[in-house]
């Protein structure tokens, strides 16, 4: 009995009921509101809370200080305290600005990112609409609308710094959308679908079946996408829209209290959305769960409890992988200096854009000649069968997948060793500082 897989996704059923009779208009609207209030609002606020805390913690440890550690265990409730402060702050609106637009701007920035969550695959069935055939494209569209909120904010503030920030953001976003889309297109071409859940499910099978290891071109597109997503999200080092050393706070200069906080909710949700796309397209969002899900939904005797368990596990893995991407975004924020706006645009137009085009062409040719090997080896196919390997370049495809997997694992290991060493170093520095050696003259 596989009612969940057949009837629709979890959220669809939550909205529209499990039974055959449909709820009335009023009831269904109330249902919809409850689902949004019970699932999405808390998700976004908890995400924002944890991300802000995490960012301050990361910043603290990278600068050899503890970060927030007074409110709650490990300072975890610091964001809650800050939130309460934001609610109580006076809501200032500039006298000479366009007051209505100034009030509207935070919502225009926040709403599209919120909508983008609709297409995020938390699990094979734990997504809002399973049959969203262009989910990835819809997310991109939402991210491109988000910039409008920033532009309105900057324009309506009646402040030079704000307007400069907004113009930079417009410039940056409009140009970085192109490498962003191109690099995603490389991954989409390899996956063969725009449906985020499908592209996640087909990656299950092992480390070498991850999307990023499909071909050298997808591997490089992963990095192009990462850089472009930082810029499109106005994350540091591309945070020129609010570069605090030159523009006070850019488009945020005149904002205070909750309206200011909304921009940050938008930013952190957008970080999650962007990281989620990266996990879904390149990093095998569901792990081996995807593989077992495919088997269970093909099995007529599978039970829905199994589906629920698989979905919860998949959601955990997915959020973990998206969180890892967010962590790297935070590292970079506290590592790299901010470039000038012309350097930012140079990187986009003269480095990332040509790279994206070349990768797209290369991946198209790769798709023509080299087949991809999915599934678990020794379970779905015999990787050592000579006749199978010699068929149409399968050996090349599998070899490249394995080689790229080694490179990827090597990179992760290198980063982990590096971070571990510097953490040990920091400990020894602390010790030396606490007990300095006697100076011998």
């Amino acid at each position: 009995m596989l009612s969940m897989a057949e009837a629709g996704t979890f959220f669809e059923q939550l909205f529209f009921g499990w039974g055959s009779e449909r709820p009335g208009a009023v009831v269904s609207v109330i249902y919809g509101m409850i689902v949004v209030v019970v699932f999405f609002m808390p998700f976004v606020s908890v995400l924002g809370m944890i991300c802000i805390w995490g960012e301050r913690k990361v910043a603290g440890h990278m600068q050899n200080r503890p970060g927030p550690n007074r409110v709650g265990p490990f300072g975890l409730l610091q964001s809650l305290a800050d939130g309460a402060k934001c609610v109580m702050k006076e809501d200032l609106v500039p006298e000479l600005g366009d007051r209505a637009l100034f009030r509207l701007a935070p919502y225009v920035a926040f709403a599209p990112v919120f909508v983008a969550l609709v297409a995020i695959p938390f699990g094979p069935e734990l997504t809002f609409e399973r049959h969203l055939n262009s989910g990835l494209f819809l997310i991109l569209a939402m991210l491109s609308v988000e910039v409008m909120g920033v532009i309105i904010a900057g324009w309506s503030s009646h402040n030079k710094w704000s307007t400069f920030g907004a113009m930079r953001e417009a410039c940056q976003m409009v140009s970085y959308e192109i490498p962003l889309g191109l690099s995603l297109l490389v991954g989409v071409m390899a996956a063969g679908t725009l449906n985020v859940v499908d592209m996640g499910l087909e990656q299950g099978g092992g480390l070498h079946t991850w999307g990023i290891f499909r071909s050298p071109f997808v591997f490089l597109a992963f990095f192009v996408y990462f850089v472009a997503s930082l810029a499109a999200n106005k994350r540091a080092p591309f945070d020129l829209a609010e570069s605090d050393s030159e523009l006070v706070a850019g488009y945020l200069t005149e904002y205070s209290g909750m309206r200011w906080a909304f921009f940050f909710f938008a930013e952190y949700t957008a970080m999650f959305v962007v990281g989620g796309i990266q996990a879904a397209l390149f990093l095998d969002p569901f792990g081996l769960i995807g593989y077992y899900h495919n088997q269970l939904s093909a099995d007529p005797q599978g039970h829905w409890v199994g589906m629920v368990v698989l979905n919860v596990m998949a959601a955990t893995i997915f959020i973990g992988k998206a969180g890892a991407v967010i962590l790297v975004q935070m590292w970079l924020r506290w590592t790299l200096p901010r470039p000038r706006i012309d350097q930012v645009l140079y990187v986009c137009v003269k480095v990332l854009l040509p790279m994206g085009c070349v990768l797209l062409l290369g991946e198209a040719l790769w798709q023509l000649f080299v087949p991809w090997r999915g599934g678990i080896p020794w379970k779905d196919y015999n990787p050592l069968s000579w006749g199978d390997l010699m068929k149409g370049g399968t050996a090349v495809g599998l070899g490249v997948q394995l080689a790229l997997m080694m490179v990827g694992v090597g990179m992760v290991v290198a980063v982990v060793v590096w971070v571990g060493r510097s953490a040990l170093d920091a400990k020894s520095v602390k010790k030396r500082r606490a007990e300095p050696e006697a100076i011998v003259v």
Binding site: G24, D98, L101, H131, F137, I152, W155
Partner: protein, 183 residues
């Protein structure tokens, strides 16, 4: 269980919401005098129409609408206003003749719409039968159509875009040279 499925009240509620939003914000575009406010109204109008597309099961079209118009064209309009206008409230004051022409065109289009709707209702297009939604259409069918049946127009449009890009690059470069000579 799809959002746009006929007989499903949530779809109807959302439809009226989006339709109302599209109508009101379109009126805002026509009646507002402030260019940036017009642009914001246009954003809401475009987003509402994208929502209507979504309800009809064309989420690809909805996304294209948002990417191309809301995320691209509209931002360029606002960007242009921000670059060119020296004051905050860039006013848009149409002349009486322009208003008359616009009203005339609007009236003709409205009449066309009414006539079309009446004709469709007369031919029984608005039956009680639920709207057949091909929700599981593959996006690749769109791509195949674009690069198969409609290859010639697709290529012609891409040549047009190339010409536009070369022209833009030429204009940008020529002006910089001229400034160099003057300076």
């Amino acid at each position: 269980m799809m959002l746009g499925q006929a007989g499903f009240p949530m779809g109807a509620v959302l439809f009226y919401g989006f339709a109302l939003g599209a109508g009101l914000s379109a009126m805002g575009v026509a009646l507002s005098r402030n260019i940036v406010r017009q642009a914001v109204c246009l954003l809401f109008a475009l987003a509402s129409v994208a929502g209507l597309y979504y309800l009809l099961g064309c989420e690809f079209l909805a996304a294209v609408q948002l990417v191309v118009y809301a995320g691209g064209t509209l931002i360029l309009i606002v960007f242009g206003v921000m670059l060119t206008s020296s004051e905050l409230s860039a006013k848009f004051v149409p002349r009486r003749g322009e208003v008359m022409v616009a009203l005339g065109i609007g009236a003709v289009l409205l009449m066309g719409l009414i006539v079309g709707l009446c004709a469709a209702a007369g031919s029984g297009a608005f039956g009680d039968a639920p709207l057949a939604l091909d929700r599981d259409y593959p996006v690749d069918r769109l791509g195949l159509a674009m690069l198969g049946d409609y290859l010639a127009p697709f290529e012609v449009v891409s040549v047009l875009l190339l010409v536009v890009m070369i022209g833009a690059a030429y204009l940008a470069k020529a002006r910089r040279k001229g400034q160099g000579v003057q300076g």
